[in-house]
Symmetry: C2
Subunit: 339 residues, 2 copies
């Protein structure tokens, strides 16, 4: 179904969500269909997708119910961010050959209005980076850390999922801001990577006692915690907060696949003991300030102060299995699917 | 043991904590001893306790472990706030007859330094009120609501434990500040009381579906939630937050007697969806500003804008059983023990 004879008419492959997953995503929750490449109508543009962003948040989009954006409907193309090249444009704002980012969906070709996409300059960085450090993960790290947590020089910042797309950038920005940074990640390879990035300490939660390690590395307590994982790790960090600590709730990847519902932080009364706060945020709210975040991160990359890493897997057809890498903690840096 | 012949030498009865309670407090967790009234030493004052404040927080003080103040040691007199009269003073700051508040402990006579007590003017209010609206509960309501939550006119404020010592004042202050106020309490009598106090709505969580009632009374969502109870009620309110909502974590009375640990808010990711924050506070931090809070609350009482209610039980010897009224939701207003 996914093979094409050379020079055959191009086809548009699409992953459509056909079932609400229970627990981990399965291939059978989707239907892979192939159809003709659509023609853009008046005011529309057609984008050939180059790379897709695979994100923990996608798991939440597959569930029914109230959230910060509506769920993907059954029968709809699975939502995903992507970067690609304009093939045809019926909007004067775009020309064929322009490189754009946007919610392309898990497919070869995305059709939309010009306003649904944002033009980027492909000379600035390799395309997958526009889905990572220069895309949503970078913006999430930048605004979540600086705007929600207000880290001060000398403070202790802890980040979980620290070798992931968002976490690695959070830790590096915190270092740039003069903080002491502790990363929590699974496995010695990821921890070695964090140390190489300049983190002051890396805790391998799979092989160390997190509570002991945190007591050792954060003897005066945790001033800022950027949480990507939820679950037990959140509880342990809550038990180690410094006075007036700030926690940014960015995600809870440990909980997204629970079949019997989320587990809440049983240690949340530590907020009272430590006069601390826990705050949620959604990166889309910062859209009017993305230019600021892009400029800062691109500058730090250019100065060699921030390293961006992408984990690129080939083949649209691998989508369901590649997505699972996130939930198994197998990705290393920003997980990207090369279409 | 507690009876005295007329004109007998006065004795000092004391409740000492002898066991760390498991679940609900039992009389056998304490020893009631009776001894001679102590003599104040150099710089000390002796206070005859008139009324004791019974507070949910006392349950936490009986547990071992890190909290915002050290636990009561085994064999020590149980900690409690109280109001009483100076009997003897070896400190020029106090004279016999002065009325003072402070952490007197659960006993007839408290011995301490002058700095351990604060003089109050008994002409301003009946003495038990210095343990309620003009004491810690009043200060907790005032600073927790205004300083942590910043309620704005027209916003929807929800308070749980709304007929309790803190909750009833929180709701009344929110009304004074121009908010729409919804109280959550157990039983029709308490709810009728809230309506009488001017709350816009009162939800009887024991006899109504809280989720439905909240949807009805807060159609645009909850801007401020002042939480005294934790548990399921916290989860339901989390599911109804408005954008940029503020939650003050004041207590979690539904959880204090769990023998298998606290249950955390499984709905805490609503903080992300609603870009909301949850913040803990401890009233003692506001000690430098108590005068401001006292003046405001006394003023509102004098103007008839705020009603203070105390639930007074007679007899020091009833302490363990009277304390249980709190955890059974049987008190109505500030629970005070008349010594």
């Amino acid at each position: 179904m996914t093979t094409e004879a050379p020079h055959a008419e191009p086809r548009n492959r699409q992953f459509k969500l056909t079932a609400r997953p229970v627990g981990l995503v399965k291939r059978s929750d989707f239907e892979l269909v192939s159809g003709p490449v659509p023609e853009p109508g008046d005011g529309q543009v057609l984008v050939k997708v180059g790379f897709l962003s695979l994100d923990p948040a996608m798991r939440g989009w597959m569930n029914e119910g109230r959230s910060y954006i509506p769920p993907v409907g059954l029968g709809e193309v699975m939502r995903a961010g992507g970067v690609g090249t304009v093939v045809k444009s019926n909007d004067p704002a775009f020309s064929a050959g322009d490189v754009v980012v946007g919610l392309t969906g898990v497919q070869d070709y995305a059709l939309g209005r010009a306003k649904d996409f944002t033009k980027v300059d492909p000379r600035l960085a390799p395309l997958p980076r526009f889905l990572g450090a220069l895309g949503m993960p970078g913006m999430t790290a930048y605004f979540g850390l600086l705007d929600v947590c207000h880290p001060q020089p000398g403070e202790t910042v802890v980040v979980s999922g620290a070798a992931g797309a968002v976490g690695a950038i959070v830790g590096q920005i915190a270092k740039i801001k003069g903080c002491r940074v502790i990363g929590i990640a699974g496995g010695p390879e990821k921890c070695a990577y964090l140390t190489k990035l300049g983190f002051d300490a890396a805790i391998d939660y799979k092989n160390e006692d997190l509570k002991d390690a945190l007591a050792r590395h954060a003897p005066k307590g945790v001033d800022v915690y950027f949480d990507n994982v939820g679950g037990e790790i959140l509880d342990v960090v809550l038990g180690r907060l410094a006075r007036k600590a700030r926690i940014a709730i960015c995600g809870a990847i440990s909980q997204y696949n629970n079949t019997d519902g989320m587990v809440g932080p049983k240690n949340y009364m530590a907020l009272l003991v430590s006069r601390a706060r826990m705050e949620g945020f959604v990166v889309f709210d910062y859209a009017p300030r993305y230019a600021e975040g892009m400029k800062a991160i691109a500058g730090w990359i250019a100065e060699g102060k921030l390293e961006a890493k992408e984990d690129i897997v080939e083949g649209l057809e691998t989508f369901p299995e590649t997505l699972l890498k996130l939930f198994r903690g197998e990705n290393f840096g920003k997980l990207v699917l090369a279409v």
